[in-house]
Symmetry: C2
Subunit: 460 residues, 2 copies
């Protein structure tokens, strides 16, 4: 069979790059779990009527058909999920009787969309989602919680600087209502186009679709340009002179989110109010957020989410929720392919145990087992080549240490750090590698500080 | 929207059960990595011409079609993988230039088959595979290695006793050839039916399809009834009086596998030669193995694998391999649904921090953060209910400890073990839960020792 060619839109990682992804997933999982979020996985397939809601996404759904023995195919009525929110909503409804609310869950799984592949957009891609879901009600403090947890989780990763840009749908809606704009929902949809269209065009659309006067449209634009990270937010909005109950509540909520994140933001993650963020999806009803990666604005948002008053409902009960989704493939695949992130080695082994001849394989295996028993990953050389070749074998895999079992009784074992060349006596029952060498780690080639992020931008 | 009904063949785990699966996956991964196996994940979709080889499996393939805006669907030429071997073989070919051989990999991912769902057989199911693949050649000692690693990995899990039943295709082939059976391959295929058909029927099939005489067929059956765990194997086979080079090599290999596993078998896993095991798949060329779970023989094999001289080939290079696959869903889903395995709690949190009133939420959050900073998962009560209700909230989730922050300055915090009722003074900067309470664990309700496994069988 001929050598296969890569399938466009289905990125696949080599072992060392996969080690990076695994470390990232382990780090995210650790933070989510420290905050009490339970992991779930949902099946990959959902009934088409749950996936296809007449939205733009419909055409991107992969439908499952069964290939029959007679070569015809038979529709299953199922499609692959294109995000983790639809399957989670279904999971909550289906298993509600067995769940305790508020239910905190995290989910890290692939999703599929049949869209045209491009950088950061794949046909198979992994997302990491956290959500808190209540039954009938969900207090606002969970909005702050979810945002804090995601800030903390992403702040622990060696990524370029991330910016959480937060807004509140109540604030926008209340502001538009207070302004007297006839069709508030239509206005939100038009303002959402500000990153694609010039301001003039959006003003026209606001007039055409939302019935806004030139004066009203202008005020909408003024609101949308507010971008602050601190309490001056409240003054800035109030200075626009619009009063409305909903606006006040939204403003207070947004200020609380900024406030609540103050002690978790840092060098790697910032949180700011950006009153242009609306997020098109109709189900958001309060907090909304989009996450951007500095120097990688071309990827668009690498995460997002918000509050929905009805994540799910089954006629009798409504389940409000708040959540944030992070695009793992969208960030990692470009960073890995640019060489910004790489794995320190392609194998888990910290030690290669050398092999003097095929007869001493059991002896070398015993050394390896002694190391493994103490949590040190080890492999025995595949064949008894000259030691120089065995060292190069380790080098090609990135294994930092080569172990030489004693050839004669009375002589001790030795271990060589092949990076420094240092070779020392060692006992497999007590020797430990430096903690950093124990597992494959993430190597950051392009520093993520201010300066180099600027370089990054300049290179575009 | 109405409450969704479960989808047959797509088992989905509740959070506590998912914690069991996660612990199992973590334990398997740990063992595989200690032995130098690198993790990879392959994309879920493969070109149909790689998946459909005219075998029986073809009708079980799920084909991906794109749902178009105009409601027609458009074939992608892709199907979901039904095992992890086909995608791994493709991965090796596609990325060969970037891999180091021998290449050890483990892969734990879902697979899909459109078969009729039944206990242990699902339409979406997770497999855990290990393989070692060489370029052009792969020494026999890797057969022993792969078997040992899987024995060790499964022996670390709290499952009912597992039995590795090993055979060797060279042994069978050589024996049949030495006997003078005209069509050796056909004979192997017929002997493989021994667990479905009575011996007489198999004798007839051997005559009809393999041209075996009654005497030859009888000897085939005698070989197939040999089942031993030690070196008497060699004597038993030689006593049948057939001599053949290939037979001798196969017998020596099989004896080496038994020998090599001797120090890793134990109470939870046994390894024995079972000369009836052939495994129908044509690509096996040496060692073959099937894994059975005591008391759960109705599930058939819960794992299997072997040696293939050509896992993959691209016209210029051949990649021989040896591997074993373990059915994670096939074992865990029945054990979980019978209550044999369960999770100790539904949330990662070891501690619920109580909340005196909404105003003290920041204080309670500070306690939780102090615990988290030391690796202790904690959540703050959702609302300031009476303490009795907050304790029941913890109880329903299986959270073992409730923390009461000091209400007044000068008074210390207290922590209550809600199982024993013990309540003690504690400081969030120093207090530690018992190690067993730190993470959700696996609770084995039905012991896995000899006696209770027998009970298990009797209950069927």
């Amino acid at each position: 069979m001929a050598r296969p060619t890569p399938l466009s839109g289905y990125p696949e990682l080599l072992p060392a790059a996969r080690a990076v992804e695994r470390e990232v997933i382990a780090s995210l999982s650790r933070t989510f779990e420290l905050h009490g979020f339970a992991n779930i996985e949902t099946r990959v397939a959902e009934p088409l009527d749950r996936l296809a809601k007449g939205g733009e996404i419909d055409k991107e759904i992969y439908v499952l058909r069964r290939l029959q023995a007679d070569d015809t195919a038979d529709d299953t009525g199922l499609g692959l999920h294109f995000d983790l929110t639809v399957p989670f909503a279904r999971y909550v409804l289906e298993h509600a009787g067995h769940l305790e609310f508020p239910f905190r869950r995290y989910q890290i799984q692939p999703c599929w969309r049949g869209e045209r592949p491009q950088e950061g957009r794949y046909r198979q891609f992994t997302q990491a989602d956290i959500d808190v879901v209540g039954k009938d009600e969900l207090p606002f403090h969970h909005d702050v919680e979810v945002m804090r947890v995601m800030v903390e989780a992403l702040g622990a990763l060696p990524l370029p600087r991330l910016s959480f840009q937060v807004n509140n749908r109540k604030l926008i809606q209340g502001f538009y209502r207070g302004l007297g704009i006839p069709d508030v929902t239509a206005a939100i949809r038009q303002i959402d186009k500000l990153d694609k269209l010039p301001e003039d065009a959006v003003v026209e659309l606001l007039a055409e679709h939302a019935g806004a006067s030139a004066e009203q449209a202008q005020r909408c634009l003024e609101l949308a340009t507010i971008r602050v990270a601190d309490h001056s937010l409240v003054d800035r909005v109030q200075a626009l002179g619009v009063t409305d109950d909903l606006l006040s509540r939204g403003l207070a909520e947004l200020a609380s989110v900024l406030d609540g994140c103050r002690d978790v933001v840092g060098e790697r993650v910032s949180v700011e109010a950006n009153l242009r963020i609306a997020r098109g999806l109709d189900y958001y009803t309060g907090t909304v957020v989009e996450i951007y990666m500095e120097g990688y604005e071309r990827l668009k948002a690498v995460g997002g989410g918000g509050r929905y008053d009805a994540l799910a409902e089954d006629g009798r009960t409504t389940y409000p929720g708040v959540g944030v989704s992070f695009g793992l493939s969208r960030t990692l695949v470009p960073l890995i392919s640019e060489g910004v992130l790489s794995g320190s080695r392609a194998v888990p082994s910290a030690v290669l145990v050398a092999l003097a001849d095929e007869q001493s394989r059991p002896a070398s295996e015993r050394v390896a087992d002694a190391l493994r028993a103490r949590g040190i990953a080890a492999e025995v050389a595949a064949s008894p080549q000259k030691y120089g070749r065995q060292i190069r074998y380790a080098e090609r895999r990135g294994i930092p240490f080569v172990w030489f079992p004693a050839s004669d009784p009375g002589v001790g074992d030795q271990v060589k750090d092949i990076r420094s060349g240092d070779q020392l006596d060692a006992d497999a029952a007590t020797w430990d590698p430096p903690a950093d060498d124990l597992r494959p780690g993430i190597v950051v080639t392009h520093a993520t500080d201010e300066t180099s992020s600027t370089d990054e931008r300049q290179r575009q």
